[in-house]
Each structure stands twice: as structure tokens, then as C-alpha cells.
Symmetry: C2
Subunit: 116 residues, 2 copies
């Protein structure tokens, strides 16, 4: 679980930066080289490469170098980490809503169902 939490840390931290989110958006449409990805940004290439490294180390993308060109490909696993986290919160939320609905509908006083 701690390992999962560390994984989640990297996955969510990677999304904290607008540059990296934009890169992910572009890569969702298909693979691209470093140079191609960097073109829309007013940023020095070594700075941009730092973002690519963050995305790669957190599992959002995979990169492969052929000759002098490194191509980036998006990975679904990290999407699933975020998606799973959202689903878990939604399930908790809707569980709470269900209980609230039950309370309102049946008009029965409900004991505090607070565990974990």
C-alpha cells in the first residue's frame, strides 16, 4: 500500500504542472519526438527535458531513442491510477449520499455510521 501510495505520489505530482499536462494531452493523440513536443513551448530544451523525465519516471510515458531522435509514447497505467482514485472518492461520496437519501426518505433517525 505504501508502494502504491508512492506510485500515486509521482503520478499526481506529474500532473501538477501545466507544461506536463499539455504534453500528455498531445501524446494522447499519438507518439511524438522530443523536438516536436517542445516546439509549442517558449522554453529551453534542457528545461523541457526535465519535464519529460518527470513524466517518464512517474510512468505516464515511455521513451525510446532511435538514432538521434527520442520518441515519447503515452502509457495508460497512470491514467488508471488517477481514474481509480477518482472512482474510489465517488464511491465514498455516493455511499454517503445514499445513506443521506435513506435518512431523508425514511425519516428514521440514523446512528453515526463512522468506521475506518
Amino acid at each position: 500500500m505504501a508502494q502504491y501510495s508512492t506510485l500515486a505520489d509521482g503520478v499526481f505530482q506529474a500532473l501538477a504542472d501545466p507544461t506536463r499536462r499539455t504534453v500528455l494531452r498531445r501524446l494522447s493523440r499519438g507518439p511524438a519526438s522530443i523536438g516536436e513536443l517542445a516546439r509549442p513551448f517558449d522554453m529551453a530544451l534542457p528545461s523541457f527535458m526535465k519535464h519529460i523525465r518527470v513524466l517518464e519516471q512517474s510512468g505516464w510515458i515511455r521513451t525510446r531513442k532511435v538514432g538521434r531522435v527520442r520518441t515519447c509514447t503515452i502509457e495508460r497505467a497512470s491514467f488508471d491510477v488517477v481514474d481509480t482514485w477518482l472512482s474510489e472518492q465517488r464511491a465514498l461520496w455516493e455511499g454517503r449520499t445514499d445513506r443521506l437519501d435513506q435518512f431523508v426518505t425514511s425519516d428514521i433517525s440514523q446512528t453515526k455510521a463512522d468506521s475506518q
Copy 2:
């Protein structure tokens, strides 16, 4: 759009920290006071309060003080920001998968469909 991007920045940055994600998980089950939320963490209260401020300023939670107790309540809007972003990437991804399937199935050479 720039305003939306700034909103997204705060929303995603708030998720970058494990303490704040844990707080959101707890609040998904229902409102709680600052003291109650802080209890599971081995952290000074002023440090914990900083996290609460981040979550509030980014729109993840709303807080209300009655007497000496401040109660936090989760807000759905930020969930929707993250959910929307994921859906957009999935749509881009699946659009690419559809085109790839089309390519493989029909065995037709496909021009580069690269548009903004």
C-alpha cells in the same frame, strides 16, 4: 481558457501531496472538523492547516467556522475538473485507437491526421 488553465493548475497541484489526498478521501465520507482531520497525521497543526488552505483555495473543500470549531466539506466541482480532463485524454486516445483500428482492418495507407 487561461482562467480555466489556472483553475486546473490549483486543482491538480492540490492533489500532488499525499496528505491532501488523504484529507479528500476522508471528506468524501462526510464533513469533519480540522482537529478530527488532523488526528491521524503526525504533523504540527499549523503545518496541517497549510494543507487545508491549499485545498480550500483550489476549490476542493469549503470550510465554515462555528464557535471555535472549523468544519470542512468537500466540493464536487474540482472532482469534475479532474474527471473532465481524464475524459478528454481518453477521447483523444480512443480517437487515435479507432483510426489505428481502421488502418489495420482496412489495410489502407492513412495520411497523417494531425490537426490541433
